[in-house]
Amino acid sequence: MKEGFRQAMAWLHTWAGLVFGWLLFAIFFTGTLAYFKDEISHWMQPEIAAHSLDSEASLALAQDYLQQHAAGASRWLIDLPDARDPGLTVRWQQAPGKPGERGRFESRTLDAQTGVEVQGRESMGGEFFYRFHFQLQMPYPWGRWLATIAAMVMFVALISGIITHKKIFKDFFTFRPRKGQRSWLDGHNAVGVLVLPFHLMITYSSLVIFMSMVMPASIVASYGSDVRKFYDEVFPASKTPERADVAAPLTAMAPLLAKASEQWAGGHTARLSVSNPGDASATVVLSRAGDRVVHDFGRAVTFNGVTGQLLSSTPDQPMAMAVGGAFYGLHMGHFAGPLLRWLYFICGLAGTAMIGTGLVIWLGKRQLKHVKSAALPFELRLVEVLNIASMAGLVSAVAVFFLANRLLPVSLAGRADWEVNAFFIVWGLSVVHAVLRPGRKAWIEQLTLGAALFIAVPLINALTTPWNLGATLMQRDWALAGFDLTCLATGLFLGWAARKMQRTGERVSVRKAGSSPRSITVEQGAN
């Protein structure tokens, strides 16, 4: 019966992995990129200069700006600059949103030192990858529903994979390269098992992050129709007070930063949210910068907007909320310094590779049965096309997103949208290409294209902006230099992969000329 159980789990792992693998690859890849979203944004809007940080001064400038441009708004949001994100962002909302929904906001970026609106080229920057990985470019709320469903399938695939992997301890250190399908499986197991703590954390936390949306039964059972009360209790700082309709000037906010820091035993403010500015009911809520592992949604400090008096004393975080906060904090990794952030990135790439190798193995195993015949049956051909486009195609699309940022005219209307369009157009074209070309050739061509595109990124950067690699290294702008170098490394990796595939293919055709079928099975790589 034990054998039956393992077999059943193997079947489940194989099919759950295949059906959702393409989507999960995209989610993992873009999510991994999102760990460096601030750095990516900085590269894509290099005009926004980084200055040494002076939170009080920047806040005063932001308040002045909002007082001038958004006096009658129902809510202001101010994001203070930090080491990774040099922008001072102000947002305002004319009318409050419905409960549980985000309202509509106007957004501007200001120079942190002068308070003047910055004309950085219009771009979504790294936010595009961040938002895509949980919204999938679909209208609200469908994207996040699909992404969360994918997360549940990922969870099932992880656990069923662990159960199926009979020799998980014996083969813990096993990786045998140059052995065809065996190597791919060893690789899949290696990036899976060795990075398992990360995979389990990232998958379960993504479920917890959207649990109110996907598993609301408890909320309804406990709060009935007064769902709003639940959100107020879990996220006390987001409560919007009722307008008093009595004009009262907003207190200067800069001094509030020190008061909040006291409440947090030295922590810093990342964001201020002002409700009903200019009204007697105004409140200012200060949210802490993500410098701790366990995110505390309730820890924001609230002040009376007119008098500047501290309103709420922050209660201790209950255990249940701390667990949720831990999942959120670990997933987002806001607290990670540069070294740990790179480790997050490597773990994310490992997860992406785990999914990718799985997809390759799925097809590789079944292709072996069709070595002699000319064409693959339709189902396998479909998997082959989707494998190529969802992996090699996606990677090229990312490179094109970056290239579009440098090549599209700065003054082009809607250029942020056009950068995103370029991404999807290239991704779509990769599907067409994969359909038209035979499998192995399509892989090699797309990987080669990806290599060329990524290597082109720092080159085009040097040709179109003054922030070329040489300059940024001298100025010690590690974000910009790191970006160019990483693109270069990615291009070289893709080029190596393309050449490896080409060589494996050549070996197969040479052997086909005169040796036994067995050597083909052994030598044949993925496709």
Binding site: A8, M9, M152, I159, I219, S222, P318, A320, M321, G324
Partner: protein, 101 residues
């Protein structure tokens, strides 16, 4: 196996479909009921109980999904979900009745 798709018997395909539906929908039902039961019975304040119930629910969902594919037949998949569902529904109803909610 994919190559033999055309030769798989209809009964097999129906059984698999049944298990998949049981896993997706039946599994969700059990998970949601477990979440509610936990929420209503935990001696915590409302918000904490709700958060705990929701957080744990995905483990229950996982167990339900694994059950649907590990059990002997498609029928046992459904029965194996219905029985806990009824029990959980009763238990959470009892919480309501006892005034715990």
């Amino acid at each position: 196996m994919k190559g033999k798709l055309a030769t798989l018997p209809m009964s097999y395909r129906l059984a698999v479909t049944s298990r998949v539906l049981a896993a997706i929908f039946g599994g969700y039902l059990v998970a949601a009921l477990a979440s509610v039961t936990l929420t209503l019975w935990l001696p915590l304040n409302r918000a904490e109980a709700v958060v705990t119930g929701m957080t744990v629910s995905f483990l229950v969902y996982l167990a339900a999904v694994l059950w649907c594919f590990a059990c002997r037949s498609a029928w046992s998949a459904w029965v194996g979900l219905l029985v806990p569902s009824v029990i959980l529904a009763t238990v959470s109803g009892a919480a309501r009745g006892l005034g715990l909610a």
